[in-house]
C-alpha cells in the first residue's frame, strides 16, 4: 500500500484544479467534490498508516533537476512520523471540508473556497510526504500560499488584505532563514535527502558550529511558520480568514508544520546542544508570552489563536528538551482538540454573528450541542486529567524536567495555569451567565457541522490513550522504533509532575470560575491594580507597533534613500548624458546658420585641427 502513498496529495490537487476551472459552473456541487476527494485521501492515508505498522520505511524518488554533478531528486517517503501526520492532516482536512459545507453555506464563492482548501491540503500532504529538505521547502511555501489565499478569502475587507499580506511576509522571513539553512546544509552534505544529512551529521563530517548555525536557521523557518516569538504576530491576525480555515490551517496543520519540521530534522538539532537550547527557550517563552496575551483578548478567535501560539510553544519546548515523542504527541492531540475548539467557535460565530465575547453569554442553553463540544475541547486543552491534552502536556513537562531545564519547567507550569484560566474564562463568558447580546434567533448549527465536531471531540478525549504512562507508550515506542537519535519512546519522570500539572490546571479553572461565573472576584480586580501591565498585555506587548517602528520604518527609509539616489544620481546621470548630447546637437544646429562664412570657418577649423594633429602625431615634421 505504501508505494501508492504518492497518490494521497493528488486527490486534493485534483479537487483544486477541477474547482478552480469548473467551480463556477458546478456551483453548489463544489463542496461534495472537495469532500469526496479529501475523504479518498484520508482513506488512503489510513491504509498507509496501517501498512506502516507492519512494514519498514518506504522511500521512492526520481530525478528532478540536474545541477552540474549534483542530481536533485523528488519522491516520497513513508516513515512513522509522516504516516501519522498524513492521517491527522487528511482527517482534519476532511472534517473541515465537511464542516465548511454548513459554515460557508450561501457564499457565492464557495467553490473558490473549496479549491483553496484543496490546494492547501495538497500542499500540506505533500510537505508531510517529502523525503528531502528541498521538497519540504517547496511544499512549505505552497502551504504558506494556501494559508495566504484563505486568510485573504474575504478579499474586500481591508483587515483580511492586511492580514494575508502580513501572514505571507512574516512567514517568508522565516522561510528565507530556512532557505539559507537548507542551502548551507546542502554544500556541507552534498544532498538535500534527510537520510544523507542525518548520516553525515552522525558521521561527524560537519563542524559543530555549522550544525548549530544550520539548525538555528532551520528553526527560524519553523518559528515563522509556527508563529513562535518573535514572528508570532501574523497568526492572531490570520483569524480574519473563515473559521474553518483557522481550524484547519492555523490550529491543526500548517502551524504545526514548524514543529513537524523540527521533529523531522531532530537528529540535526540533537547534534547541537545550543540549537536544542534555543528551541527550548523560544518555545517556553512563546508558551507563556502568548498565554499571557490570551488572558485579555476579547475576540473568541483571537483567544484561540494565542492559545495556539502558546501550545505550539509547548511543542517546541518539548522538542528542545529532547522530548521528541512528547512534541509529536502533543502535536497530535493538539490538532484534534484545537480543531474542535475552532470548529465549535465557528459554530458559535455562525449562530450569533459576532466574534466579540463581550456580546455573547448564556449560550449554553441555546447551543445544546456546541456547548458541550466546546467544553470537551476546553477541558482537553486545559489539561484536565483523562483527556488527551492531559497526557501530552504531562509528557512535555516530564521531558523538560528530566532534561534539566528547571526555569523552563516553571515557565511551562505557569503557562499551563494560564491556559486553563483563559480557556475557562472564554468558556464562561461565551456559554455561562446571562445573554449580553441579542440571542433570540440563535440556532444550533446543522448536522453537517456538528458531526465533524463529534468526531474531533471523540479524538480529543481518547487520542491521549495511545501514549500514557499507565497503558503503555505505544506511540512513542513506534515513533522511535529503529532510530536511536530520536530518544526514548517514553521518558520516566517523577510522579509529582503529573500531580502538579493537574493541580495548576484545576486552579486555573477554579479561578476562572470564581471570576467569570460566580463573579465573587471582580473582573477588573487585577487590571485595575496593574493598569500598565494590563495595557501592555492588552496591546500584545506592542510587538506590532515595535515592528512598525523598526522594520517597516527602516524599510521605508531605505526605500526613500534609494529613491533619492535614483532621482539625484541615476536620473542625474541620464540628464548629464542627454544634456551632453543635446548640447552637442545645439552647437551643431547653431553652426547651420546658412552663412557661407560660418560654414567656411567650420570647414577650415576642421582642416586646421586635422593638419595640426597629423603634424604632431604623424611625424611629418
Amino acid at each position: 500500500m505504501m508505494e501508492f502513498a504518492w497518490i494521497i496529495p493528488l486527490f486534493p490537487l485534483l479537487s483544486f484544479l477541477l474547482l478552480i476551472v469548473y467551480g463556477k459552473k458546478w456551483g453548489s456541487a463544489a463542496p461534495y467534490i472537495g469532500m469526496l476527494l479529501t475523504f479518498a485521501s484520508f482513506i488512503v492515508s489510513l491504509l498507509v498508516l496501517v501498512a506502516r505498522f507492519e512494514n519498514p520505511t518506504y522511500k521512492a524518488e526520481a530525478t528532478w533537476l540536474t545541477i552540474g554533478d549534483a542530481t536533485l531528486t523528488a519522491g516520497f517517503e513513508v516513515n512513522q512520523l509522516n504516516a501519522l501526520m498524513l492521517v491527522i492532516v487528511s482527517l482534519v482536512s476532511f472534517l473541515v471540508h465537511m464542516y465548511s459545507k454548513g459554515y460557508m453555506q450561501g457564499d457565492e464563492r464557495i467553490s473558490v473556497f473549496y479549491s483553496y482548501l484543496g490546494l492547501f491540503t495538497f500542499a500540506m500532504l505533500g510537505l508531510v510526504l517529502s523525503p528531502n529538505l528541498l521538497q519540504t521547502y517547496i511544499f512549505w511555501e505552497l502551504v504558506g500560499v494556501g494559508s495566504f489565499l484563505l486568510i485573504g478569502f474575504y478579499f474586500y475587507k481591508e483587515e483580511a488584505k492586511a492580514a494575508a499580506k502580513k501572514a505571507f511576509i512574516m512567514t517568508r522571513i522565516g522561510d528565507v532563514a530556512l532557505f539559507i539553512g537548507m542551502i548551507l546544509l546542502f554544500w556541507q552534505v552534498g544532498s538535500f535527502e534527510y537520510d544523507e544529512i542525518f548520516a553525515s551529521v552522525s558521521a561527524g563530517t560537519i563542524s559543530s558550529e555549522m550544525i548549530t548555525l544550520t539548525a538555528i536557521l532551520i528553526f527560524i523557518g519553523a518559528v515563522g511558520k509556527s508563529g513562535q516569538f518573535p514572528l508570532h504576530s501574523w497568526l492572531p491576525d490570520a483569524m480574519e480568514g473563515p473559521t474553518p480555515v483557522s481550524a484547519l490551517i492555523h490550529a491543526a496543520t500548517m502551524v504545526a508544520a514548524g514543529v513537524y519540521l523540527v521533529a523531522t530534522m531532530f537528529p540535526v538539532f540533537a547534534a547541537s546542544e545550543a540549537a536544542l537550547m534555543t528551541v527550548a527557550i523560544v518555545g517556553a517563552f512563546t508558551a507563556i508570552f502568548a498565554a499571557s496575551i490570551g488572558l485579555v483578548q476579547k475576540d473568541i478567535k483571537r483567544v484561540l489563536a494565542y492559545s495556539t501560539v502558546s501550545q505550539l510553544g509547548f511543542m517546541m519546548l518539548a522538542l528542545g528538551s529532547a522530548g521528541y515523542v512528547a512534541g509529536v504527541f502533543h502535536l497530535t492531540t493538539h490538532a484534534f482538540f484545537k480543531a474542535l475548539l475552532f470548529l465549535a467557535a465557528g459554530s458559535v460565530i455562525h449562530a450569533v454573528h459576532t466574534q466579540d465575547i463581550e456580546k455573547m453569554g448564556g449560550l449554553w442553553k441555546k447551543l445544546r450541542l456546541t456547548g458541550p463540544l466546546f467544553l470537551i475541547g476546553t477541558l482537553a486543552i486545559s489539561g484536565v486529567p483523562l483527556l488527551s491534552g492531559f497526557f501530552s502536556k504531562d509528557e512535555i513537562l516530564v521531558a523538560t524536567w528530566v532534561h534539566g531545564h528547571t526555569i523552563l519547567f516553571l515557565l511551562a507550569i505557569i503557562a499551563a495555569f494560564m491556559t486553563a484560566f483563559y480557556m475557562f474564562r472564554l468558556f464562561f463568558l461565551v456559554f455561562g451567565g446571562e445573554a449580553r447580546g441579542d440571542t433570540n434567533h440563535v440556532k444550533e448549527s446543522p448536522n453537517v457541522m456538528t458531526v465533524p465536531m463529534w468526531v474531533l471531540a471523540f479524538l480529543a478525549i481518547f487520542a491521549g490513550y495511545i501514549n500514557t504512562p499507565w497503558f503503555g507508550s505505544f506511540l512513542g515506542d513506534w515513533l522511535t522504533d529503529g532510530n536511536a537519535a530520536l530518544g526514548h519512546g517514553h521518558i520516566e519522570g517523577p510522579i509529582w509532575i503529573m500531580g502538579l500539572a493537574t493541580a495548576v490546571s484545576l486552579l486555573g479553572i477554579a479561578l476562572a470560575w470564581l471570576i467569570y461565573s460566580r463573579k465573587s472576584l471582580s473582573r477588573d480586580w487585577l487590571s485595575s491594580r496593574a493598569p500598565y501591565a494590563y495595557q501592555l498585555v492588552n496591546k500584545k506587548y506592542y510587538i506590532d507597533e515595535f515592528y512598525h517602528f523598526t522594520v517597516v520604518k527602516a524599510a521605508s527609509i531605505l526605500s526613500r534613500v534609494a529613491r533619492l539616489f535614483e532621482v539625484i544620481i541615476v536620473e542625474g546621470l541620464i540628464k548629464l548624458i542627454t544634456a551632453f548630447i543635446t548640447g552637442l546637437s545645439k552647437l551643431g544646429s547653431r553652426m547651420q546658420d546658412g552663412q557661407v562664412q560660418t560654414y567656411g570657418t567650420v570647414a577650415f577649423l576642421g582642416l586646421a585641427v586635422l593638419v595640426i594633429v597629423l603634424a604632431l602625431t604623424g611625424g611629418y615634421l
Binding site: Q592, G594, Q595, Q597, G600
Partner: protein, 104 residues
C-alpha cells in the same frame, strides 16, 4: 643660380594665402570676400610658378597651369560679381552675414 631659395617664395605664398583666407572668412563685404579669394588663388599661382622653376622636374608646365588658373579666376570673378549684383538687387545688401539662404 638663383640666390633666393624656393622656400622664400613658398613662404611668401603661404603668408598671402593666410591673409586671403582670413579676409575671406572674416570680411563682411562680399566684394572683399571675393577679392580675398583672388588673393588666395594668386598665392597658389606663385607656388605653381615657383615649382616650375625649382622642383623635381622643372619645366614650363607650371607656368601653363598658372595661366589656366588665372583664366579660371577671371571667369570666377565675372560670375561671382554677376551673382553679387543679382543678390543685391533682391536683398539690397552686400553683407555676407545677411545671406542665409542656405539655411532654408
Amino acid at each position: 643660380m638663383s640666390t633666393v631659395p624656393i622656400s622664400a617664395y613658398l613662404t611668401l605664398a603661404l603668408v598671402l594665402f593666410c591673409i586671403g583666407l582670413y579676409g575671406a572668412l572674416t570680411k563682411r563685404n562680399t566684394v572683399i570676400v571675393l577679392i580675398s579669394i583672388e588673393l588666395m588663388l594668386n598665392a597658389g599661382n606663385i607656388n605653381l610658378v615657383a615649382f616650375s622653376k625649382f622642383g623635381m622636374m622643372p619645366s614650363i608646365d607650371g607656368q601653363v597651369f598658372a595661366l589656366f588658373a588665372i583664366a579660371v579666376a577671371a571667369a570666377e570673378v565675372a560670375v561671382g560679381l554677376a551673382i553679387l549684383i543679382a543678390i543685391y538687387r533682391n536683398r539690397k545688401t552686400v553683407n555676407v552675414d545677411e545671406f542665409d539662404a542656405l539655411k532654408h
